[in-house]
Symmetry: C2
Subunit: 206 residues, 2 copies
């Protein structure tokens, strides 16, 4: 692409560095900003820079936080004795959006994946073990993606927690709501048969 303005070209190049944004989309976004009021673009740029400079990670659960402790850990209305172990912040947001969970989180910052060179030491696992030893924990819920890396991570952490008496669970795997049986893979269908529920429970959950 040939630009007749260096300022425009620089801005397009910056946007094109973002994931999933090509040069053409970047140009569209920049030309949109060019049409906005100066103060609106300044606000955009300030908020983005502030986000990166001021955001912190919760010292207890490694979720994003505006201070040292995140708003979920600081909320005394939430069940502090339940820990939901997730891979990343996006998963926290997904679970929070269901409005069905009232405990705390522990963000691992990834999952064990030897092929990608990610071992247990690079993740917030030590701090999770430490947290369980220090605090009174009633239940640990694993909410990791259902794949080999997720299962490996659950297995590894569970081994480390062998001596604790805390209840350890994992979110249910099965046929997604709205999904169709005939298109489900064998593994999912087999698991959902093994872990079948009494119909009373199912109706009660509704």
């Amino acid at each position: 692409m040939q630009f007749s303005s260096q300022l425009l070209e620089n801005a397009v190049n910056e946007f094109a560095k973002l994931p999933g944004i090509g040069k053409k989309t970047a140009l569209r976004l920049v030309l949109h900003l060019l049409k906005q009021e100066e103060k609106d673009v300044e606000q955009f740029s300030e908020i983005v820079a502030r986000m990166r400079n001021e955001i912190k990670f919760c010292q207890r659960c490694f979720n994003v936080a505006d201070g040292d402790i995140c708003s979920i850990c600081a909320n005394s209305m939430r069940k502090q004795e339940t820990i939901c172990v997730v891979e990343n912040i996006r998963d926290v947001i997904a679970i929070e959006s269901t409005q069905q969970y009232n405990g705390t989180y522990h963000v691992l910052g990834g999952i064990i994946s030897p092929l990608d060179g990610v071992g247990p030491d690079q993740l917030n696992i030590e701090s999770l073990i430490h947290r369980i030893q220090k605090e009174t924990t009633e239940e640990i819920i694993f909410a990791l993606n259902p794949n080999i890396q997720g299962d490996t991570t659950i297995y590894y952490i569970q081994k480390k927690l062998q001596h604790t008496t805390t209840r350890i669970t994992t979110i249910a795997r099965g046929i997604a709501f709205g999904g169709e049986l005939e298109y489900a893979d064998e593994m999912t269908l087999a698991r959902s048969l093994q872990n079948r529920l009494p119909v009373e429970n199912y109706v009660a959950n509704k």
Copy 2:
């Protein structure tokens, strides 16, 4: 979506204001920036703000410019006597990218579209007429999108230029390179038959 950080939520909302970016994509972009170095995010934010604050529009052709006159108008190697009339800056970039045009531009800033409430007075048409009266112009090339609004705009401007002896042309409409005859609409196919070229010309252009 439920965020546990106000800083994060604000940044996501800012990104979600951009065209074609929903909340989920905005979150993905923000979390990407969160993983980058602080100085890189500051650079992103500075370049975007600078673009909006410092970019100017060429006083002669209304293209984007870093100064009062754009780099195309200021370039003495380009044929200043040829004016290519386009709708917007994106069209300038598209034509520049072909590297086949060596004249100047005139950016209308839109096209005449009564349904959208855009009349000739909102466009840079008066300045085009004025420019043609003041400068020596050999050719005016209309490169507008081939639709009713584009044709109306060409007709309107051409009427205004009746008294000039300048050559007025429009870019060729026809079957696009790589296109297939059987899928072309009748209008395009009919026009490409009417405006057929001697084969020598066609081969010479290759």
